[in-house]
């Protein structure tokens, strides 16, 4: 293990905020998750999802073909990209051709995976994350430490400091006030944006639909207010049938945040009218970035069945101690180690996977 990595572990262990926040959460999580699953046969739902997504992973090409046909028949533009660079080029070119100056984003791990913001900002386009946790870490110049709760490593004092430094002086460490502040500051940015960028939690091949799951309401604003909507979707989000949404929507909120359902779920199957009556331009990017290659590897194919609930982070004793900035790259924790090896580079996951103690909690 390299010295630098060792030091990052020691720093994390010595950070009382980090171990406090993650420790409290990992205790509360188990109880609330169990309560959310009351009356639901978890093993049955898990098996059903595993079957659906395993079958998808064996047919990425066919599913991407049907998705493209169904979505394009409705007037959606579908772009199939193999590499992160192709995705970035497509979005930048589109933004430039349409005179886009300001972009609002709802949370998208796929966009984190390809470091999209940096690319667009270099070209002079303003890009704002609007999920509260993502906005905080964007302002702080950090990366998400958790796939569902990107700023879980920060205290309210640190958030107040970031807001005071980067947005407006004098913010107090009072959580409801900090949330109201974010609403007030981001609202005019939503209303002024030319393009909205989102991810998708599910993509349905038969109908060309994408499913976007959020709690804050930013996903609905990102897909409603700007005249252009671009969704970046990893191939592993594809499922064949519309009815297959049900088991995933049953498990994802319960496992991710112990909710029966998130505040908002949007199922978008085609362009809708903009607020000025013009049709919205809807672009869906199906991104491979080695997912197909991974699907052909018998040992790693299973990891494509992941619905990204981040449960494996929440129950991991190592994650609990050091957090996602040490135990992970863009994707964090146990599943993050595997995804990093493919979507980023094998050598990047070398050190982080050495942290695993093989306890099997995440299984």
């Amino acid at each position: 293990v390299k010295q630098e990595f060792k030091q990052s572990i020691l720093d994390a262990l010595a950070n009382p905020n980090l171990s406090g926040a993650l420790g409290r959460f990992s205790v509360a999580y188990r109880t609330s998750r169990a309560k959310a699953y009351e009356g639901v046969d978890f093993e049955a739902v898990r098996t059903q999802i595993a079957e659906i997504k395993s079958s998808s992973a064996s047919h990425f090409d066919e599913l991407a073909d049907s998705f493209t046909r169904a979505a394009e028949a409705r007037g959606t533009k579908v772009f199939r990209a193999n590499s992160p660079q192709a995705v970035k080029d497509y979005i930048l070119r589109l933004a430039q051709e349409r005179g886009v100056k300001s972009i609002v984003k709802s949370k998208s791990m796929a966009s984190e995976e390809i470091h999209l913001n940096e690319h667009l900002e270099k070209a002079g386009i303003a890009v704002r994350e609007t999920d509260l946790g993502e906005w905080i870490i964007q302002l702080a110049g950090q990366r998400p430490s958790h796939m569902v709760m990107p700023a879980i490593h920060m205290t309210k004092e640190e958030v107040a400091e970031v807001f005071s430094d980067k947005v407006e002086v004098g913010q107090m460490p009072d959580i409801p006030k900090l949330v109201k502040f974010a609403r007030g500051k981001l609202r005019p940015i939503f209303l002024g944006a030319d393009m909205g960028i989102s991810g998708a939690n599910i993509a349905v091949a038969d109908t060309g639909s994408i499913v976007i799951i959020t709690n804050e309401g930013n996903g609905r604003l990102v897909t409603t207010l700007p005249r252009i909507h671009v969704a970046i979707v990893g191939l592993e989000k594809l499922i064949e049938h519309f009815a297959d949404i049900e088991p995933i929507l049953t498990a994802l909120p319960r496992s991710a945040t112990a909710q029966l359902l998130t505040s908002y779920v949007s199922i978008i199957s085609g362009p809708v009218p903009n607020t000025d009556g013009t049709p919205k331009e809807l672009h869906i990017i199906l991104m491979d970035n080695r997912r197909n290659e991974m699907a052909h590897d018998p040992r790693f194919k299973q990891a494509l069945q992941c619905i990204r609930c981040a449960s494996c982070l929440n129950v991991c004793p190592v994650f609990r101690l050091v957090g996602g900035h040490v135990f992970g790259k863009v994707y964090t924790g146990g599943i993050g180690t595997i995804l990093t090896a493919w979507f980023d580079a094998l050598k990047e996951s070398d050190e982080i996977q050495s942290l695993c103690i093989q306890c099997g909690n995440c299984k």
């Binding site: 509260l132 109201k180 409603t224 049900e246 029966l260 359902l261 908002y264 199957s269």
Partner: protein, 192 residues
């Protein structure tokens, strides 16, 4: 008889689940009473014809032109021709939903029409009307009834907007409404 018992169980279950996610649930017998209840709510909320104090109501099947005139007269500051600019400075947004799900307290709507989304995202209070007969048991039931071939934007709403992104502390009201009032209306027809 059995049907009546079942439906009262479904209504109770919806109420329990919606209230568990901080929504408020009312039930009225008729469409007329629903309009009266909304007018009362708007008065209680101090709705008036001033920026940031008025209410916007998205076009919906339950409100005809005559109802609209009556409501406009009863509640100064209630507006029906919803634009982006109007919705951005409204205090209250009102809309009719297509279905409700008992086991999660969820409202479901074909929201292709953009004003339906504007009134339920931008204002601080969202009042949602839904037919009691449109109550379904769960997600599986609604997924067989919606048609993604016809509806390009389906909205599922479960409680007001929320976050736990700072220190895992639940905070209600982020980018969407901070309050959701659901009015179940017994005599409304259900969309086919």
């Amino acid at each position: 008889m059995n049907g009546i018992i079942e439906s009262s169980l479904v209504i109770d279950s919806f109420k329990v689940h919606a209230e568990a996610v901080s929504a408020q649930v009312l039930r009225v017998a008729t469409r007329e009473l629903a309009m009266e209840s909304v007018a009362d709510l708007l008065h209680q909320e101090g709705v008036e014809d001033k920026p940031d104090c008025y209410a916007v109501w998205a076009a919906c099947p339950m409100i005809g032109p005559a109802d609209r005139k009556k409501l406009e007269a009863a509640v100064p500051g209630l507006k029906f021709d919803v634009t982006r600019e109007l919705a951005a400075h409204a205090k209250v947004g009102i809309s009719q939903m297509d279905w409700a799900l008992a086991n999660t307290g969820t409202l479901v709507q074909d929201a292709d029409q953009v004003d339906k989304r504007l009134v339920s995202t931008l204002p601080l209070l969202h009042i949602a009307l839904v037919s009691t007969a449109a109550l379904l048991p769960d997600l599986a039931a609604v997924l067989t009834r919606v048609d993604p071939g016809k509806s390009s934007y389906l909205s599922f709403i479960t409680g007001p907007s929320r976050t736990a992104d700072i220190e895992r502390v639940l905070t209600i009201g982020v980018h969407g409404p901070e309050r959701l009032i659901i009015v179940l209306v017994d005599d409304l027809e259900v969309a086919a």
